[in-house]
Symmetry: C2
Subunit: 193 residues, 2 copies
């Protein structure tokens, strides 16, 4: 057996390169040659790890969504703290989270014409919703957790989208302010009933 290489790590490097290009200039910028060059390789390596461009893009979306999931997986603190941490992890607060948010958004229109991509995005969204709903249920028994989770996610996603369009107007502090206001508002509405 020849040259030993961690295959999964190489694939990750290549999908990361694709994600960087997509976040920087759109899906159109992620050509085979550009992706390979961004990863410091050539098309020969790229085709060795992915059957075709379609598979590369599919894996890029999946990997990028997984990065976002990893980010919002909080462990310490009580349920309320873990809920807030999960929502904080969903905000584009730094370069990396902004990049993966941009990839998520960039694939939105693409997924409209590709069932597999659409399925991947829907699954990620529903996983997020379930995750948040569970935490909401743990820290505030009043009200429908699913509905409250959707409201919180909407608030976070709305802030995130505005931050992607206009980053200068949305520094981390402002994003966190908006999140905390949404949390306060919803917990107040839940307890008063």
């Amino acid at each position: 057996m020849p040259r030993v290489v961690d295959v999964e790590e190489r694939r990750q490097e290549l999908t990361d390169a694709a994600a960087r290009l997509i976040a920087r200039a759109g899906i159109g910028a992620a050509t085979m040659r550009e992706v390979a060059a961004e990863a410091g390789l050539t098309t020969g390596a790229l085709t060795h790890y992915f059957a075709d461009k379609r598979e590369l893009l599919q894996c890029t979306l999946t990997a990028s969504l997984q990065r976002r999931i990893d980010r919002r997986h909080a462990t310490g603190g009580d349920a309320r703290a873990r809920l807030r941490a999960s929502l904080v992890g969903a905000l584009p607060l730094d370069e990396e989270s902004s990049r993966h948010w941009m990839v998520t958004v960039a694939f939105c229109a693409e997924a409209a014409g590709d069932q597999a991509l659409a399925q991947t995005q829907r699954d990620a969204y529903r996983e997020f919703r379930t995750h948040i709903a569970r935490l909401v249920g743990e820290c505030s028994p009043a009200g429908d957790p699913g509905r409250l989770a959707e409201r919180l996610i909407a608030a976070v996603d709305g802030v995130a989208l505005q931050a992607l369009f206009d980053p200068e107007s949305w520094p981390p502090v402002r994003q966190l302010d908006a999140l905390d206001e949404a949390l306060d508002l919803l917990s107040a509405a839940a307890t008063q009933r």
Copy 2:
């Protein structure tokens, strides 16, 4: 002077065709030939109205954003009713508004690598924010209108994004429910102070 044709109308037809393709399968699907064919014409006509592809895409984004602005321009009723109508107009409730929402989102990553596109999107967002803030100020003097407007827009955009990713889970009724809940929540928070 020869064959009389409404130039602005033709340009609108062509950018509409581009918008349909982009919403259907992403920006990559909007090739010169495809856009022309979608409009029932050929590339000869397309290059007659737009200098190059860059200008076509720029105009497509501008026209699509203008359609969304037109949609949320409400006249009848009191300030509160006009505020709600403007926010309703910003939701992807039917095929047309979903299409223009998809175009807005599709250009997000593209704009990251194109200053002109980014400027166009930022301007549209700030115009929307100003518009909503004015209506908020008219119907509820308590609280900072700008801040309240941002919260409402975040709620609407969040719902819109979720509806684009997972339309079946977000029929118009559910979107309107979420909007009305956000309106109630914010007006309650504003009056209690």
